[in-house]
């Protein structure tokens, strides 16, 4: 039977952070994720590395934590954090009294919030509304959830950490009140098997309640859905926050070639309820267009939702009221040794959450090593020589983005393939500049089972055409090199496109519906992926 000392359930930010910390302290750890990494909340949010200013007034502890971790993550995560800085913008609709309170609160938590003249703000961000009354600069940043997770895993692997994706825990087994193993189910083969372990960490985010249920325990995590919109262009180079009491739709975050606006809040039954609604999009646009008046002229690429894992001891406290702080539950108090859950929290403080959890687990395992996750960078900087070599083979404007996605080792691998066969420099995804070599390397990873998995590692299909071209090219490439065995390629392409469409179906207007027309024209009309299958009688 397979075994690990510690099993971490959940491949979101918290889970990968814990895996890394455990591995760095020499603990044998295996992370199990029911789908692909960051399938849950950690890929379905703003991607904002909070300066903490948002929480300064209402929750100064959270604010303080944020600014501290913000600084740490900028240091260790240089290659998944874009130090965009941010603005807080007060509009005529916003209460000037709150501004005063906010400025004071930021001072109190040592958060540098520097006032600038709105005219300068407009010069720096030409799309910003000229109705802005006051503007402050804060050290917000953007963080790429996908990259962050993979880089944490890469770092963990260096220390012996292991990951299994598409592996869902269905049972936590114990004997005499002590955890002994977990039973898992493989998503593709549907086969169940056991993995022996001493300790289980429940870092399943909004599914934490479900996982606790696998041990017949109750953890009251209330999934709360937030919808966000992705725009096709960088409307802004900085994070833009509304300077008012925290509310819906008041943050814009630039991410690579796109901009994200969010978010909303609604209690839902299941964290799998991630179909965004047009009404939510409309709601966000009405708020967002106060900050960017020409917002509706910008093309919406897609909408998406994530479920916040709100924890409360009181089963009835829902929505924004419930704490965004986090809690570590040691289930020894519930009669089960070797099982802890970590609930709540926010992305920005994932590392700190992981540290506290790992401290607890290590204490129980009598491991005395100290935490170094704030000290050691997730990935090393890429050496200038390697970057220079990359420039010889990569298409223009393609090196920096690919380098930060890949890290030095994989980048070298990609370059070698391009050098050996120049055809591999060709672009599979022209919208996001993703080469064949990169897709190949991503497809070969043991955690890549579907085109979607490749997408999350490379950004293929996440640009303007939302997969209209790269679905075919990506599938062709994968089939050509036999990179993923025994696939139903037609179904795979349909699944990939359907996943893209899920986020497009709430925003079917403007250029977005034109893109869908093209997608349907190609994959339904021309390539006939979905029609009656030809057989002899035809």
């Amino acid at each position: 039977m397979e075994k690990a000392t510690v099993i971490v359930i959940g491949g979101g930010a918290t889970g990968v952070g814990i895996l890394r910390d455990l591995a760095m302290r020499g603990v044998d750890a295996l992370l199990l994720e029911m789908r692909d990494l960051v399938h849950g909340t950690s890929s379905r949010y703003h991607g904002l590395l909070h300066s903490g200013a948002r929480y300064a007034v209402k929750d100064s502890d959270a604010g303080r934590e944020c600014i501290e971790e913000n600084m740490v993550l900028r240091k260790i995560g240089r290659h998944c954090v874009e130090a965009t800085e941010g603005f807080f913008v007060r509009l005529p609709e916003d209460d000037p009294a709150y501004e005063r309170e906010w400025v004071q609160a930021c001072k109190t938590i040592n958060l540098p919030a520097i006032q600038i003249d709105p005219a300068e703000a407009w010069h720096l961000e030409p799309n910003l509304t000229h109705r802005a009354q006051s503007v402050y600069r804060v050290p917000d940043a953007a963080i790429d959830g996908f990259r962050m997770a993979w880089q944490n895993v890469d770092s963990a692997k260096k220390y012996g950490g292991r990951v299994k994706t598409y592996t869902e825990v269905v049972r936590i087994n114990s004997v005499n009140g002590q955890v002994i193993s977990v039973t898992v189910r493989d998503f593709f083969t549907k086969q169940k098997y056991d993995i022996e372990c001493e300790f289980v960490v429940n870092a399943a985010g909004p599914w934490a309640g479900k996982v606790a249920g696998c041990a017949d325990l109750m953890v009251n995590v209330q999934p709360d859905r937030g919808t966000l919109i992705a725009f096709n262009h960088r409307l802004t180079n900085r994070v833009i926050n509304r300077l008012h009491k925290s509310s819906d739709g008041d943050i814009f975050v630039p991410h690579g070639s796109i901009t994200i606006l969010g978010t909303t809040s609604a209690a839902v039954q299941s964290p799998d309820d991630t179909q965004p609604l047009t009404s939510e999009v409309e709601y966000l646009l009405r708020i967002g267009e106060l900050t960017f008046e020409n917002l509706r002229n910008f093309r919406i690429l897609r909408a998406f939702c994530g479920a916040r894992p709100l924890y409360s001891a009181d089963p009835n406290a829902k929505g924004r009221g419930a704490s965004r702080g986090f809690i570590v539950l040691d289930h020894e108090y519930d009669g089960l040794k070797g099982f802890v859950s970590i609930c709540g929290g926010k992305f920005t403080t994932y590392r700190m959450m992981a540290e506290q959890l790992t401290d607890l687990v290590c204490k129980k395992l009598h491991n005395e090593k100290t935490c170094r996750t704030a000290i050691e960078p997730l990935v090393e900087d890429i050496s200038p020589q390697v970057l220079a070599k990359a420039r010889q083979y990569f298409p223009n404007f393609g090196v920096n983005l690919a380098a930060s996605r890949l890290g030095e080792d994989r980048l070298k691998e990609v370059i070698d393939r391009m050098a050996e066969n120049p055809v591999k420099s060709e672009l599979v995804c022209e919208c996001e500049n993703v080469t064949m070599a990169e897709v190949e390397v991503a497809a070969e990873a043991s955690t890549s089972y579907t085109l979607g998995d490749i997408r999350r590692k490379t950004r293929m299909g996440m640009g303007t055409c939302q997969g209209a071209f790269c679905t075919f090219r990506g599938m062709g490439m994968v089939a050509q090199s036999d990179l993923i065995k025994d696939q139903d390629t037609v179904q795979e392409m349909k699944d990939f496109l359907q996943a893209r469409y899920k986020g497009i179906s709430p925003v079917l207007w403007g250029s977005t519906i034109r893109e869908v027309e093209l997608m349907r024209g190609i994959y339904d009309g021309v390539l006939n992926l979905d029609g009656e299958i030809f057989d002899e009688k035809n």
Binding site: P126, S257, N297, L427, E430
Partner: protein, 403 residues
């Protein structure tokens, strides 16, 4: 930046229509294509300080924009990227020359017999390899300077006075290389009851400056020309030109490039016409002088790409069909390959001839001796590629009116 500039690349749905229409794409695998170099890269340029290696391949012929169903100004995006490149890189001496035909021509024509010496010099320089060494293609004869500029000749031209006036924007080619075409134009307007005025303050439309990456200078020219055009438009006089690149630049490219930076462009554009466009308007209203004399000749007409991009059809062809004895067919064979100063650059010559091959073959197969086209550089390219005589359609109309 206004909404317009930001949103237009946003409208690209990656349909690939531009790729099928781009003549440079058809001629070489080295050019990465309009979709990629234009709207696709505009989304990724934030990521690093880089330059698209094949950016110089774009000839600004506008075929991509004609093909685009989404209104993306692809070719203009390329020109803007080129201008950005030259913000941090210096121009070659060749570019200095090719980007500033007006400056060069002014120098030459100031000298006594300047045109003669310049022409001779160029002719001698060609076989000696000097032209090539300077970075210009030497297989094709360089445009000859006329011994007297149009503006100078115009001063001695007698016109019947009229209350109906138009202002002529000659452009560099007419003024310095083919002044007779300008005079033919004046004759045609006179025959239609218009008096032609010439504004000596006009400067080069800026098209060669733009394509060679001198955006700031192109803007200066745009400012000068725009305020002068406004002066005439306010007096109620339309501005006409017989060069289709000048008309496209004045009517559209100024606005695409300098929207919100220069006032009055939009209003001016309503009063700027290609000469044949204006005459066709007269025809539509029943005001054209249709006393055309016979001109017994068979022609092929080539529509310059910059004319096709204006969305006015082929007005010269319409007018020619009114002239008795004229047999004229539209070549309909795509870009001639020269695209302004593009084909004159040594590194572009072969490609420019390859692009024009279909047109050259079509003309040669038709066995006509004279090809008509409204663009000066097209005339040079076609003459070179087919050994036919090339003329501006306005000259045929002038000839016909004289009969």
């Amino acid at each position: 930046m206004s909404d317009q500039k930001i949103n237009l690349p946003d409208c690209c749905i990656a349909c690939t229509a531009c790729i099928t229409a781009c003549p440079v794409t058809a001629a070489t695998q080295e050019f990465r294509g309009p979709k990629l170099v234009g709207p696709a890269q505009s989304r990724l340029q934030f990521a690093e300080n880089d330059t698209e290696a094949s950016l110089d391949y774009c000839s600004n012929c506008k075929n991509c924009e004609i093909a685009c169903p989404s209104g993306v100004p692809i070719s203009t995006l390329n020109m803007l990227a080129r201008a950005k490149y030259y913000e941090t890189h210096s121009h070659s001496q060749r570019d200095e020359m090719m980007g500033h035909p007006e400056k060069l021509a002014k120098l030459i024509t100031k000298l006594p017999f300047g045109a003669f010496f310049a022409n001779t010099g160029m002719e001698i320089g060609r076989p000696m390899g000097i032209i090539k060494a300077m970075g210009m293609a030497d297989q094709r004869p360089l445009p000859k300077y006329a011994s007297e500029t149009f503006i100078s000749m115009f001063k001695n031209k007698k016109q019947p006075a009229s209350d109906k006036k138009i202002v002529f924007f000659p452009g560099c080619v007419i003024n310095y290389n083919e002044p007779q075409v300008g005079l033919d134009f004046v004759d045609v307007m006179n025959k239609n009851g218009y008096q032609v005025l010439v504004e000596e303050g006009f400067v080069c439309c800026g098209s060669p400056l733009l394509t060679t990456g001198y955006l700031a200078e192109a803007k200066e020219n745009a400012q000068k020309n725009t305020s002068l055009i406004k002066k005439w438009v306010d007096k109620g006089y339309p501005v006409l030109t017989v060069c289709t690149s000048c008309s496209l630049m004045l009517k559209q490219e100024y606005q695409e490039l300098f929207e919100d930076e220069i006032p009055h462009m939009e209003k001016n554009a309503k009063h700027i016409f290609d000469a044949a466009e204006f005459l066709e308007f007269l025809y539509q209203k029943g005001e054209l002088n249709e006393n055309f004399g016979e001109v017994n000749h068979t022609f092929i007409y080539h529509a310059p790409c910059h004319l096709r991009a204006q969305g006015i059809g082929l007005p010269a062809l319409e007018l020619l069909s009114l002239v008795p004895g004229v047999e004229v067919t539209d070549a309909g064979a795509g870009c001639c390959g020269i695209s302004g100063n593009y084909g004159y650059k040594v590194e572009n010559y072969d490609r420019s001839m390859k692009i024009g091959k279909n047109l050259f073959d079509t003309i040669k197969a038709s066995k006509v001796e004279t090809v008509l086209t409204d663009c000066g550089t097209c005339r040079a390219q076609i003459a070179h590629g087919t050994n036919t005589e090339t003329m501006h359609p306005i000259s045929i109309l002038a000839k016909s009116y004289k009969k």
